[in-house]
Symmetry: C2
Subunit: 378 residues, 2 copies
């Protein structure tokens, strides 16, 4: 019969991290609970939505947790509800005691709240993972890579594999990360400091977004383990499991062009605000596009909505070389691409009005490239 | 043909204030536009949703506006769209020029955006008001009164008059403000420094919430004008019109009890957090109530949800006098009432388990009272 006391704020914080894997409205009702396992060493909180699972460990050794374990056991509690109750408690410490099977009393100050739980035996078992020979990455590096690519993954389930991000390690050292929704593509390459086993996986982009929320910046490195159908990201106290997408990711290398006919270097922020202006009007047009015109050394952007009005704008460029060109595209893709870059200047390279164009940061051009497909108008 | 230039930020701020009266999805399409009238003296922006109308004046004399008027005229522009366009402009100044009838060009930096507008003749005429002999109030006083009462007005249209706030001036000096949804009531009294004409009006509570958003704290005083079916709040640059509710407001004075059998003084914040804990569980019960028990000098709160659990809590009191009592009520009403009070302590007074109980701030008891109706359980 569980009995422990703990610092309320610390407990709440850990509960909230675990809750990121818990969906309030899951088709499997038991997955709306959080599992609390108490051993002499500490407390493990588990949450899962069937796609992602998070295990959070609070050790008795962690001073900020103020954890004092009197007795051990396991219970399931409805997660949202339990977190609301805990966060409403008046005192800094919270006493958590199982008074009869699957019934707990929370005491804090003069509050006494009794909650009914469920038998922990009902909770589905998480799939075991071989935890040998991890790939070790800096959290910051992995989060940056996710920010740079995951946004380009598809949100539509028509081609499920495109809702994932493709991660490949080759030659034990070279990490390539790609996402595409078939209208745009984003690819980041990275050379690892420490060699590791090769892998080739497709991770749901939604899981990766959760990953970035769960692993905060004070966690310096992450261990990564692979199995057939899932991946485990692990730090000292957090284990984050996500299923992998099945199927072959399309060969994206052949999509990336090398030779260009028009190359323009823009100031990133200026180009982005110009595109945001264009988008306000392009949203009111039928095809939602902006037209970029390169002529006689000048670059300009145009939108013409017969209903609402027009945009005509001369774009300042840092450098311009190559042929004249007129190309139409969805400004949102360009805005998203620019958001994912942190360089001051970007190089945009075109082949023709009907071929995808590329964006690279003006420095470090080799490692990060984005592709946007134009829209044919006329 | 309109032509002016203006500071973008100042213009945007004024547009946004005007927009509070404009609904994107109005049954009368013309009301989704903002009306721009330019005279030699300045610019008037008008928005209306048929219930509330706001006129905002930007004078050429206002230095922050940087307003330079070259030519005058009137136009209607789709409000949300126009505001998005203005806020996206790159430069600090914006040039606004009508190039042909109802077509304008906005120029800012190297951006040139053309927008189609509508003929200002199509805009409905706002009802004229006699603007003589105003009631003058401090903005802060009026906003406080609104905060203290408007939340208690009904949100349901079944008795439309209860969706309003009742304002009465009697003896040219005493302002009484009341709102009730028939489950709870809030009443604030105020003695005006300067005598004024008596009035008796019911203002939609929704209009009053907009009032608080429109008249910012840097506006010190407000002039108020009444007509048969509308009221005008006016500051130097803003005119805010709202229609009044028709019908007789119920006689609420007779509802307010004077004699009590149990009187408890609570620390406001502690009572509020106890009720918030209670509410988490009471929401899971059938009648959504908390039970308050006064017995042998102790006050306690209880919720019992057979499904989810229980709350038992001893409430700290500052003072307690009178008879023992058990009373059930919706904790949300008490939480709302406590939110509207800014005193450190509140006095809660009961007659019996079936009669409404009152809350007053422990200081200044005469002027502010709230009533909550209990729920019969058993």
């Amino acid at each position: 019969m569980i009995h422990f006391s703990i610092n309320k704020t610390y407990f709440l914080q850990t509960l909230n991290t675990t809750k990121r894997a818990i969906s309030h409205k899951n088709a499997i009702p038991i997955l709306s609970t959080v599992k609390i396992d108490v051993t002499q060493e500490g407390i493990t909180l588990t949450g899962s939505n069937g796609q992602i699972s998070i295990e959070n460990f609070i050790t008795s050794k962690e001073e900020n947790a103020g954890l004092l374990i009197t007795d051990t056991g396991s219970i399931l509690l409805e997660a949202t509800f339990f977190i609301n109750v805990v966060s409403s408690l008046p005192d800094v410490t919270l006493d958590f005691k199982e008074i009869e099977k699957n019934q707990i009393v929370l005491t804090s100050g003069k509050s006494e709240i009794t909650l009914k739980g469920k038998d922990s035996e009902q909770y589905p078992r998480l799939q075991d993972m071989q935890t040998e020979n991890p790939l070790i990455l800096e959290t910051k590096v992995l989060k940056d890579v996710i920010n740079e690519t995951a946004f380009a993954a598809s949100l539509q389930e028509s081609r499920p594999i495109l809702t994932g991000v493709h991660l490949v390690l080759s030659d034990n050292q070279f990490l390539k990360t790609v996402a595409t929704d078939s209208h745009r593509l984003s690819q980041r390459k990275l050379s690892l400091e420490k060699k590791s086993d090769n892998f080739d996986v497709v991770i749901p982009s939604r899981s990766l977004r959760e990953f970035s929320a769960v692993f905060t910046d004070d966690i310096e490195t992450i261990e990564i383990f692979f199995s057939n159908n899932q991946i485990l990201f692990r730090s000292e106290n957090i284990s984050f499991y996500t299923r992998l997408l099945e199927g072959n990711y399309p060969d994206t290398d052949r999509l990336i062009p090398i030779d260009f006919n028009t190359v323009i270097i823009f100031d990133r922020d200026r180009l982005r605000s110009a595109m945001e202006r264009a988008r306000i009007l392009s949203n009111a047009t039928q095809n939602g596009t902006v037209k970029l015109e390169v002529a006689s050394g000048l670059v300009s952007a145009h939108v013409n909505s017969p209903e609402v009005g027009q945009v005509h704008e001369e774009l300042e460029v840092v450098n311009l070389s190559g042929e004249d060109l007129t190309i139409s595209f969805n400004p949102t893709y360009l805005i998203d691409a620019l958001k994912a870059m942190d360089s001051e200047q970007v190089t945009v390279s075109f082949i023709s009005a009907v071929r995808p164009f590329t964006l690279v940061p003006s420095e470090d051009q080799e490692e990060f490239i984005q592709l946007i497909t134009p829209v044919r108008t006329n």
